[in-house]
Symmetry: C2
Subunit: 220 residues, 2 copies
């Protein structure tokens, strides 16, 4: 094995938990700023919006307040956005991630990120977590022009100049991490954490703790 | 005197200094992230862009890197935006502002913000500085639908139910703070700080330190 590819969300850090915490903090900030509504009511309205518009939609608070008929919403939007960003900007990796990445670097592996999403947003997460220097390169669907798929991985392999048999993909999702890598003959390790841990499907290995990774990769 | 209106930028906090610091930190972050360019070169390019597009344009870093022919800019954009926002989110008021606002509250004045700009952005500044609770209301051009002008102030007076002779406007600029207020007979105090302090023109009073304000308002 020469190369290890890592997914980002719910693999390197608990995305789902942070997003939820950021939303809760944003709601509390609106109430603290004087919005005449209960936390529960705001929470329900926000989640309804997320179901409708997706979680990456950036005008959630604006629309939420408009729907509630708030006449001058700027104060509450500002409070919500500040609290939301303060939470998001303090994201931390899963606690074992930095030392495991360091361990893998010491053993001579080349590490890469292979992730779906917007390139600037994914870089932002790596930089804020302080782990961007571990990676020899970062491949993001938004920059590649296609989501993770066999074709995405084929282009990544060409860029890192490696054969599938020399590579491992580490991720939490069957659909976007494990299956497309497997199709090319890339070995796979599934981290059993986050909201997708109950999906059915088989990787070459499953791990519960990120720190198991060096031993698992050696076996491959 | 019953009501005091305050401008925000360069009146309550040193906007120009913070913007400049945020830009410098963003440039350093791009170089630290590995961008092959000098700080001086980036600084010049950024300021050329600001002159072209205005300081509130939000895609400066994107465009700067595109113009430099950087092939995969996401890493540097993310580094720049994170550093820029970290600096901007730590804005502090001029050191005498909070205690002076408290002093004015104790003396029974109603305090208001009257500012140009985007309503959410101006609220964001007040909240981050921790001074939003001092104000009975906040009037922002972006929400009012017109920049500060005699008509803007006429509508503000109607909303706060006060006559011009009962009000003072405090700001740093002749064109947007002092002159339109004077036209309606609102008394004016000019704070001599920031980039507009050399503009010619006369307010009823000028102050160099924000803490002079209570004494000056009493004289009016």
């Amino acid at each position: 094995m020469k190369c290890i590819f890592f997914d980002v969300d719910n693999t390197l850090f608990p995305t789902a938990e942070f997003a939820e915490l950021a939303r809760r903090n944003a709601i509390r900030a609106m109430v603290e700023a004087g919005l005449d509504a209960s936390e529960g009511e705001l929470y329900k309205g926000l989640h309804r919006l997320i179901r409708e518009k997706g979680s990456n939609y950036s005008n959630h608070f604006d629309i939420l307040l408009k729907r509630m008929g708030v006449r001058r919403p700027a104060r509450y939007v500002a409070a919500a956005v500040a609290a939301y960003h303060n939470t998001k900007s303090s994201i931390q990796p899963y606690p074992e991630v930095p030392k495991t990445l360091m361990e893998l670097k010491k053993r001579g592996y080349r590490l890469y990120v292979a992730t779906n999403g917007d390139a600037v947003k994914q870089w932002d997460k790596l930089i804020r977590m302080g782990i961007h220097l571990f990676f020899d390169d970062v491949f993001v669907s938004g920059e590649m022009g296609e989501e993770k798929s066999p074709s995405f991985f084929r282009r990544v392999l060409a860029q890192v100049k490696a054969r599938p048999s020399e590579c491992v993909m580490v991720g939490d999702r069957m659909d976007s991490d494990i299956l497309p890598a497997q199709k090319l003959g890339i070995r796979t390790v599934r981290v059993m954490q986050g909201p997708y841990s109950r999906e059915k499907g088989k990787a070459d290995f499953r791990i519960r703790k990120f720190s198991e990774l060096p031993a698992v990769v050696r076996k491959l």
